[in-house]
């Protein structure tokens, strides 16, 4: 590696050294308690998948460049220079971690391996060694934000097609404007994913609840966060923030995408509230704005890590399911300890490139799903849904994998007119 690049990478590393990051890097006692917490290690017991080992890959570089011990007695902490080989190790560590933060629940100090992995990802971006697929997807999202007019026409004609589908299926409920866009003064801006499955059921529920809503021009998923590039993460998020401000909405509702929910909820000082779709649906039921019929069969719920453990949305999905089904079976006795599906952190977005690893590293998840004994696995995250569907096929689990929102849409009863505003 050239001296200039090495120097640049050390400076990039330095830019991540906030007080909290220093604590994450300086506190680990290498007790190994977190080892069992990681689904990757629990499924493939190789030490390179232990959270503390992943963190050590970053920590060794940190020690060499930023600590007295690493400078004067590098052998003590196995401190290392940044080299091409170190970059390869960083890549393996960072892109086999889904950022689920289950290890953080085990650690006596609460060391955040995901945060430490964000350094690894940033170094890879700076060395142009990040996964190309993610980088390309992030660039596309950014450029869409920069040239919205070029995309608008195609987007609106896509929406028109979806509206036709809605009118065919729910002639009575679709209303005059089944999928409103660009509504200045709307109460709620819904940020969906590209694809009918993320728009049609939600539109049906918003309309049934009498919501004054508008569909965002942008998709929720933040590839910048997956690839670990804070600049792109912000640019992608800013597109939504600017649209919400322009439309003067009170609430931005993020679709079933864990990372998008997490990134948006971290916004500070925005003139609107950020909520997940699941929270909005629970609210509609609580306020009597939608009514649901019970669905047959047995159901279990997979808590998406970014929405539950890292976002606090535990009760709402269970509240919704209590109105949807009679036979609900918890997947994990304590949802905080639910196994990650193994698809987060950009792994699912990388598609077939990661399929083999995703299937192997999530064996414990497959066992957990099988152990639930339910016929239907419900979740509220696109990544989790894809990964659970892949696991279902790979391990022959014989389950049906459903989005929570699509179940709600299927179970909608004609709305109580008096509850509409």
């Amino acid at each position: 590696m050239e001296a200039q690049l090495k120097n640049d990478l050390v400076n990039v590393f330095k830019s991540k050294l906030s007080s909290q990051m220093l604590l994450n890097l300086d506190t680990c006692s290498r007790c190994g308690l977190c080892t069992e917490a990681c689904h990757a290690y629990a499924s493939i017991p190789l030490v390179k998948y232990a959270p503390a080992y992943r963190a050590e890959v970053v920590r060794r570089i940190y020690k060499r460049s930023f600590t007295a011990q690493g400078k004067f007695a590098p052998v003590m902490g196995e401190a290392k220079e940044i080299t091409d080989a170190a970059l390869m190790e960083l890549k393996e560590a960072a892109f086999s971690c889904t950022g689920c933060r289950r290890c953080m629940v085990y650690c006596p100090f609460g060391i955040d391996t995901q945060q430490i992995m964000s350094i690894a990802k940033l170094l890879l971006v700076a060395a142009q060694a990040e996964p190309e697929t993610l980088s390309m997807l992030a660039d596309m999202s950014v450029s869409k934000g920069e040239n919205i007019d070029a995309f608008k026409e195609g987007f609106l004609s896509g929406i028109k097609r979806l509206e036709d589908q809605m009118i065919q299926t729910w002639r009575d409920e679709a209303g005059e404007d089944p999928i409103p866009t660009d509504v200045v003064g709307a109460d709620l801006l819904y940020v969906a994913l590209a694809g009918a499955h993320s728009i049609i059921p939600s539109a049906r529920i918003f309309n049934a609840a009498g919501e004054k809503w508008s569909l965002s021009f942008f998709e929720a998923v933040n590839f910048g966060a997956f690839v670990g590039d804070p600049t792109k993460t912000k640019l992608i998020l800013d597109r939504i923030v600017n649209e919400a401000k322009r439309l003067r909405v009170k609430e931005v509702c993020i679709c079933e995408c864990g990372t998008a929910v997490r990134v948006a909820k971290q916004l500070k000082g925005a003139p609107f509230k950020v909520v997940s779709l699941t929270e909005v649906h629970a609210r509609y039921i609580r306020q009597g704005r939608i009514r649901l019929k019970k669905l047959p069969g047995s159901y279990t719920y997979h808590d998406p890590c970014q929405i539950a453990r890292n976002g606090g949305v535990y009760d709402e999905p269970r509240y919704i399911l209590s109105h949807l089904v009679n036979d609900f079976r918890e997947m994990s006795p304590d949802p905080k300890y639910n196994w990650c599906c193994g698809g987060g952190g950009g792994l699912v977005a990388m598609g077939d490139e990661t399929l083999d690893f995703r299937m192997q590293s999530a064996k414990v998840k497959a066992d957990q799903v099988r152990g639930s004994g339910a016929d239907v696995v419900v979740t509220a995250c696109e990544n989790c849904h894809t990964q659970l569907s892949d696991l279902n096929k790979h391990y022959g689990l014989g389950k049906e994998v459903r989005f929570l929102s699509s179940l709600v849409a299927d179970a909608l009863l004609p709305e109580p007119q008096e509850a509409r505003g």
Binding site: L17, S18, R30, T35
Partner: protein
């Protein structure tokens, strides 16, 4: 030999204390001076008041208790033992009425606390020799355990040696005279260098000095950082 004893018992002690204090201040200062980034989300569900739960997490190690009882037991014994030994050492400087609320002989624990600490340290060392902790460990981890072990071995054995072998020529009064002379910056090592088992005190202090100097530059800082870390996790 007398010069070596002097160097370990006087200048090295002052050096160790200076390195410890300045090093710890530097480490904390570095943290405070670092830019603050928007904090990542805490781990949900939240419990209030967060700071109280964070202190509980730092002192009682509930996550270790939940996932590895044997390790928790060893950690609890080790840390409580250390605390008792620290208090015991305070009583070697002077009499503290508050420490005699429960009347006890000096030195606290009659060597059994030291023994418990030693057994825990042996357990920690053995644990580090087994996968996966073995692969996670770095030389620093072993070095610190060995320093602790030697410090504790020389310290605990010194107390026993005094009682078993009747080395009555060096006891609490001599320790007090030595330690208070250090504090008064008028070092006097006479009483602690003439006994038959003085070499054990010198060994104990030598390893303790190394440990104290290592504190700010190693993972031992977790003793301080754990509170802030756990607060971040609790939100």
């Amino acid at each position: 030999m007398a010069t070596l004893y002097y160097l370990i018992l006087v200048p090295m002690v002052y050096l160790a204390v200076a390195v410890f204090v300045l090093g710890t201040i530097w480490r904390i200062g570095r943290l405070l001076a670092a830019p603050s980034a928007p904090p990542p989300p805490p781990i949900y569900p939240l419990r209030k008041p967060a700071w109280l739960f964070a202190v509980g997490d730092a002192l009682l190690l509930p996550t270790v208790l939940r996932h590895n009882f044997r390790l928790w037991l060893a950690l609890a014994l080790f840390h409580l033992g250390l605390l008792a030994l620290l208090l015991g050492h305070l009583e070697l400087i002077a009499e503290f009425k508050i420490l005699q609320v429960v009347p006890h002989g000096i030195f606290l624990g009659h060597g059994f606390v030291g023994l418990a600490v030693i057994l825990c340290l042996i357990y920690f060392l053995c644990r580090r020799m087994v996968s996966p902790t073995k692969e996670l460990s770095v030389p620093e981890d072993y070095l610190l355990l060995v320093l602790f072990l030697f410090t504790a071995l020389f310290g605990a054995q010194m107390d026993w040696a005094r009682t078993w072998y009747d080395y009555s020529s060096m006891g609490v009064d001599e320790y007090r005279a030595y330690l208070s002379s250090l504090i008064a910056l008028k070092p006097n090592i006479e009483g602690v260098t003439s006994a038959g088992h003085s070499f054990m005190l010198v060994g104990h202090i030598f390893f303790a000095n190394l440990l104290i100097m290592a504190f700010p530059f190693t993972k031992l800082m977790h003793a301080i950082f754990t509170f802030a870390m756990n607060k971040f996790r609790r939100g």
